[in-house]
Symmetry: C2
Subunit: 410 residues, 2 copies
């Protein structure tokens, strides 16, 4: 390890967390801060103010992604740290914004402590990561990384019928396409994020050394029965689609539980027709979401689904693949640096995969990229009880700082 281990300013970081928690404060511990909303623009203004105060130059690109950059001592591409400041409805004060606040803290630490660095260093806000008002999620990283068609994204409509393109124009943050994150002007992107799960807390680890984003498959399973009157149809004549769905759910759990213990799978959504207490259901449709880092395990999941009985409880059973994504592996060198720095600071840590999607997964296909996780209290996320102690946020910021300085030395 290098001799000098710098650290961020814990109080300054805490002040940022408190300050940003006011932008969209829902009045009971959490926030609603949709991308490009007045609340999100307050957060952007605060970002600009604090970054300009330490000499950063502010730019935006054509998707309103916002870049605050301090110069380096040489004419080199920049090192980016990025996350998002938008939230889901009644979300918490950590998902996304903590990655921006720790990025700011790293820039402030380097600037105020005058830490020598060769590369420019950029703190960045991705626009509309949650896709709360304007789907899909990870919209702007998707456009910048060539995953989504920009015109289609501009046409994305809020429930009230406003397009993302209109919101973009009105925001005043629409900039130049030439300012987009790109592999010529940037050498790496680092994203600090809360885990959004219970593992780090349960395992008593300070830092999650993120290896990548889990591959996943998403299926719909459907059962087809016969709708009849609840009071007049003897049991032997029935084809009850909800009973068949219950059997299918039990079957899938039993079979999938036999696979690798790191597999996560969820039957989270269920639709029943006609869903009346006096009528035997004739149709049930439920979701199955399964995630694992190893494509071989995902193949085993697919096999379990393909082997589901064609008929359960006299009902026809069908499945349909909705979508799938391959596991994204983060840059091994960056992952190694995060691990080494966590160790050097004496922070307990563990390797972990992200089960949730992040802008970093798109960027990883364009630039060397990795993520740093900090613990989520009780695993809560996308809800108001979302919480990470400031001590853990600060430890994450220190690992982020040191990793940026390592990349700078390369």
């Amino acid at each position: 390890m290098e001799n000098t281990m710098f650290t961020c300013d814990k109080e300054r970081l805490e002040d940022k967390i408190l300050t940003f928690s006011k932008f969209g404060d829902a009045g009971h511990g959490g926030i609603t801060r949709f991308s490009l909303s007045p609340e999100a623009l307050q957060a952007r203004a605060e970002f600009r103010k604090r970054m300009e105060a330490v000499g950063a130059e502010i730019k935006t690109d054509d998707m309103a992604n916002m870049y605050a950059t301090i110069k380096g001592s040489e004419d080199l591409p920049a090192i980016a740290m990025a996350s998002h400041v938008d939230s889901v409805r009644n979300g918490g004060n950590y998902d996304g914004v903590l990655g921006v606040l720790t990025a700011m803290e790293v820039v402030e630490t380097i600037a105020t402590q005058k830490i020598p660095h060769r590369h420019p260093i950029t703190a960045m806000i991705w626009t509309n990561e949650e896709g709360s008002l304007y789907p899909p999620a990870m919209m702007s990283s998707g456009v910048v990384c060539g995953k989504f068609d920009k015109e289609k994204m501009l046409a994305s409509k809020s429930p009230k019928g406003k397009t993302f393109g209109e919101a973009l124009k009105e925001s005043g943050y629409e900039g130049d396409q030439a300012n987009r994150l790109n592999p010529k002007d940037y050498v790496a992107m680092l994203e600090l994020h809360i885990e959004q799960g219970p593992v780090l807390e349960a395992e008593k680890k300070d830092i999650g050394v993120v290896q990548g984003v889990l591959g996943m498959v998403n299926y719909r399973i459907r059962t087809y029965g016969q709708s009849d009157h609840a009071g007049t149809t003897p049991m032997k004549y029935r084809q009850d689609a909800l009973l068949a769905a219950a059997s299918a759910i039990k079957y899938l759990h039993e079979e999938l539980d036999k696979l690798d213990s790191n597999l996560v799978y969820t039957t989270g959504e269920i639709v029943c027709h006609p869903c009346v207490h006096t009528v035997i259901p004739d149709f049930v449709d439920f979701s199955l979401d399964a995630r694992h880092q190893d494509p071989e395990v995902i193949k085993q999941v697919v096999k379990v689904i393909e082997n589901i009985p064609k008929e359960l409880d006299k009902c026809r059973v069908e499945y349909e693949l909705q979508w799938a994504r391959n596991t994204i592996q983060f840059n091994k060198e960056l992952v190694g640096l995060v691990k080494k720095n966590a160790e050097a600071y004496g922070y307990s840590n563990m390797d972990i995969y992200s089960g949730a999607g992040h802008d970093a997964q798109f960027v990883a296909e364009m630039l060397p990229t990795t993520m740093i996780f900090v613990p989520s209290k009780d695993g809560h996320s996308h809800c108001e009880p979302e919480f990470t102690p400031v001590e853990n946020c600060w430890k994450g910021a220190n690992v982020l700082l040191q990793t940026v300085l390592n990349v700078d030395k390369k």
Copy 2:
């Protein structure tokens, strides 16, 4: 058996079925004919026209129940035949209306064939049996038989906010409370209805000799878990309320299947929260409806529900009784007459209980009452494919006619 066996006019009955199928014709085989709607008023006008044509006197009571009565040779209370002409949304051409059409057919047969009879004979329309726009079902028989409070019923609102009281006033069919069906002016009520189930068809029987209406219990079963991210929460930390609900449904089916084979029970409605494919459900609520003629069997059902495990798949399980009704036994003498007449005509028949609710179940507590069932093709009901061959409708009408004439002789 009496020497003379009269029969109804099959072609005239078929003409009525066809004519009434136009009132509220939804264009693909079925009808939508909400109580007191313009379509229902067309049906009432046709009822009036045809009944007045054979000399019947028309009255309505304060709930717009409609009575068409032909005089008898003596000053005696009347014999009523009744059902309803309103339907569910996209219902069929038989549920309810067939009971009115066969009652009309009996009146027309007696009047045109000049069959001697001592009692006045009444064909009757119950208002708002389905409760499609203005809940609850069986509203007007409930008021007339003292089960429901009239003021509360008048305040019942359609989804668009109109009250039943307003619809009643506008219909022009609001009459005098003194005209209500009552035990002084009426000696019996008979209701012919489609079975709404598959039993008569499967058993190849023409006539269901209805013994009564099944007693029932209706419960809600609820499972309480913990809502977490589908991608980030290892299986061992999960409390999945939908998995618990699937286990509860399987458990209930397994246990209830051990009870009497005539028991019918249904888990027809399920609500899942938050019902998002990427979130582990924290709450599921499903219905359990169970019906049987024997209160002892219903007690066994209650015991199964009370013994459901308090915890399934690490989720708390609760149950709540929503409502219960005791089995209604129809008048033994009338039931015996229906049986005897079916035999006398040479119609195959079987004893059966009604699993569905009917106006007759309320009337049975006020007057000697019974019902006659005819087969439902494929057991369909409350849907457009609802069908009963005219031959079966006619056989039912003949049994109805003969039973009225038997009661008349008493």
